[in-house]
């Protein structure tokens, strides 16, 4: 696997001609979006005013029009930038992933299978709708890994039969093989109760969480502050979460700067990083030549694929040899 600086070099050297071409396309798409957007706004505003004038003060009709105009505008925008976005994935993200490690395969339109999400036990309820993209899979140092952007949603229905959707999880979902044998299920979640309610009440709430198995108190104060651990086996949870792994998980979470969920089920490690946005998407309003924008793609990619090295999953020193 390549390092982040090697990747930056590759981005600005090898990919530079492609980036320049893409930059021209971006400028073109951007000006088209702005021109069309302004004309669209003017027409829509005109129709809106007409409706307001002739509907005798009935606001319903006007609101409906606003909603329709907004939806149509969003669809139009998506259509306009679609080409640019897929070119970006094909010409920038795909070569980057190949450069990062040649054993990786990239499928921009697919995502991790829903069964992995449910099997991870990270979330206690099943999602009603899942979507995602940017599926990467392969082997790093002989350790199988797969990851993708993942969005899981839950459906809610009120008494008037109106459906609404809430997000259970949106971000990176990573599945890899763990380097130790275990039988039970151990789940590491961001510690919300302890940080919201303080140690005493938070601890009590955690130990009385009926949707989870037994609470495991860890002997690393910093880790205990950031995470809460539930497991079916007190000893096994500590066999998995050694002092070193706890340190590494803390470090990994600090690097990602977003809530980190981890679980150990059926020989696998599942990691979910809640970025709360669709990753690896290009915006027509930001130049890909800018260092800050580029680094965000590179860093996220490196962090996601780097989990094998970062958590030493390639050291099969235990009973798995």
């Amino acid at each position: 696997m390549k390092s982040i600086s090697e990747l930056t070099d590759f981005y600005y050297k090898t990919l530079y001609p492609v980036l320049q071409e893409l930059e021209k396309e971006r400028e073109a798409v951007k000006s088209r979006v702005i021109k069309l957007g302004i004309s669209y706004l003017i027409i829509a505003a005109f129709i809106g005013v007409v409706i307001l004038r002739y509907s005798n003060g009935e606001i319903d009709m006007f609101l409906f029009f606003c909603f329709a105009a907004f939806t149509l505008g969003a669809i139009l925008y998506k259509y306009l930038v679609k080409g640019y976005k897929s070119t970006f994935k094909e010409k920038i993200i795909a070569p980057l992933i190949k450069e990062l490690d040649e054993n990786l395969e990239y499928l921009p339109k697919r995502h991790i299978d829903e069964t992995y999400f449910t099997r991870s036990r990270l979330f206690t309820s099943r999602p009603d709708r899942v979507s995602g993209n940017d599926y990467i899979h392969g082997k790093i140092d002989g350790v199988p890994i797969q990851l993708s952007d993942f969005h899981a949603e839950k459906r809610h229905q009120d008494s008037k039969n109106n459906t609404s959707w809430t997000t259970m999880f949106q971000g990176l979902f990573i599945v890899s093989e763990f380097n130790k044998n275990f039988k039970g299920q151990t789940v590491v979640l961001p510690d919300r109760a302890q940080s919201t309610f303080g140690d005493l009440v938070g601890n009590w709430l955690q130990s009385n969480n009926f949707s989870r198995s037994e609470l495991v108190k860890m002997d690393n104060p910093e880790f205990e502050k950031e995470f809460v651990v539930y497991s079916t086996d007190q000893v096994e949870a500590r066999y998995i979460l050694t002092h070193t792994l706890m340190q590494k998980l803390l470090h990994y979470q600090k690097q990602s700067k977003h809530p980190l969920y981890a679980s150990f089920v059926g020989g696998n490690i599942y990691l979910a990083i809640a970025y709360n946005k669709d990753l690896f998407e290009a915006s027509v309003f930001h130049s890909l030549l800018k260092y800050k924008i580029a680094m965000e793609y590179l860093k996220t990619l490196h962090l996601a694929v780097g989990v094998v090295k970062e958590l030493n999953l390639n050291q099969k020193l235990w009973s798995k040899i």
């Binding site: 130790k180 002997d219 007190q234 000893v235 500590r238 066999y239 050694t242 020193l317 235990w318 040899i321």
Partner: protein, 185 residues
């Protein structure tokens, strides 16, 4: 219902809850000690094999090998107390550690497949023991806390519960095992 009666019922319920939580904490300690014990036994079972494989080569370390054998015999005696088991475990860890260091001085041993396999098994058991010890220490801490905290301490005194000792965890154990150093590859 009169107020004193309600108060009485509430107090009785609270006492029952406290009593049950104390019993649960005590049983948790015993349960986890059983897990520690299983792992310790596993390690003792590896010792005859280890001693047999290395004694041919290790001339200068005969005393450690004898000590390890003696410790194993002592641990296998029936009816030894938990405290005694814990003390034996500490001695055993130290002795095994020095054997593993000594192995490094014998190229024949380092190349020996049987020894490598044993080292690997010992490593695995050590990791399991470390996990079990940490779980035990947490259970004991919870139990000891209940013994000292108000209001469970009153009930605990009445039940004649005694505070328990935790495993002393060696500083070196907090560091992760470095495989490369261990196998010296």
């Amino acid at each position: 219902m009169s107020t004193p009666l309600i108060v009485l019922i509430v107090i009785v319920i609270l006492i029952i809850l406290m009593y049950n939580s104390l019993v649960a904490k005590k049983n948790q300690v015993d349960n986890i000690f059983a897990a520690v014990d299983t792992q310790l036994k596993k390690r003792y079972d590896l010792i005859p094999n280890l001693v047999a494989s290395v004694s041919k080569y290790m001339e200068h370390e005969k005393s450690i090998l004898n000590e390890v054998t003696k410790l194993r015999a002592e641990a296998n005696r029936p009816n030894i107390s938990n405290e005694h088991k814990m003390a034996l475990d500490a001695k055993m860890s130290a002795a095994l550690g020095s054997i593993m260091v000594a192995v490094e001085n014998y190229p024949e041993l380092k190349a020996n497949k049987n020894v490598l396999h044993l080292q690997h098994s010992l490593n695995e058991v050590e990791a399991q023991i470390a996990a079990a010890r940490r779980a035990y220490n947490q259970a004991v801490t919870d139990y000891n806390n209940a013994l000292e905290q108000i209001p469970t301490n009153i009930l605990a005194t009445m039940m004649h519960y005694q505070p328990k000792k935790v495993f002393e965890i060696d500083k070196s154990e907090r560091k992760n095992v470095n495989v490369k150093e261990l196998f010296n590859t």
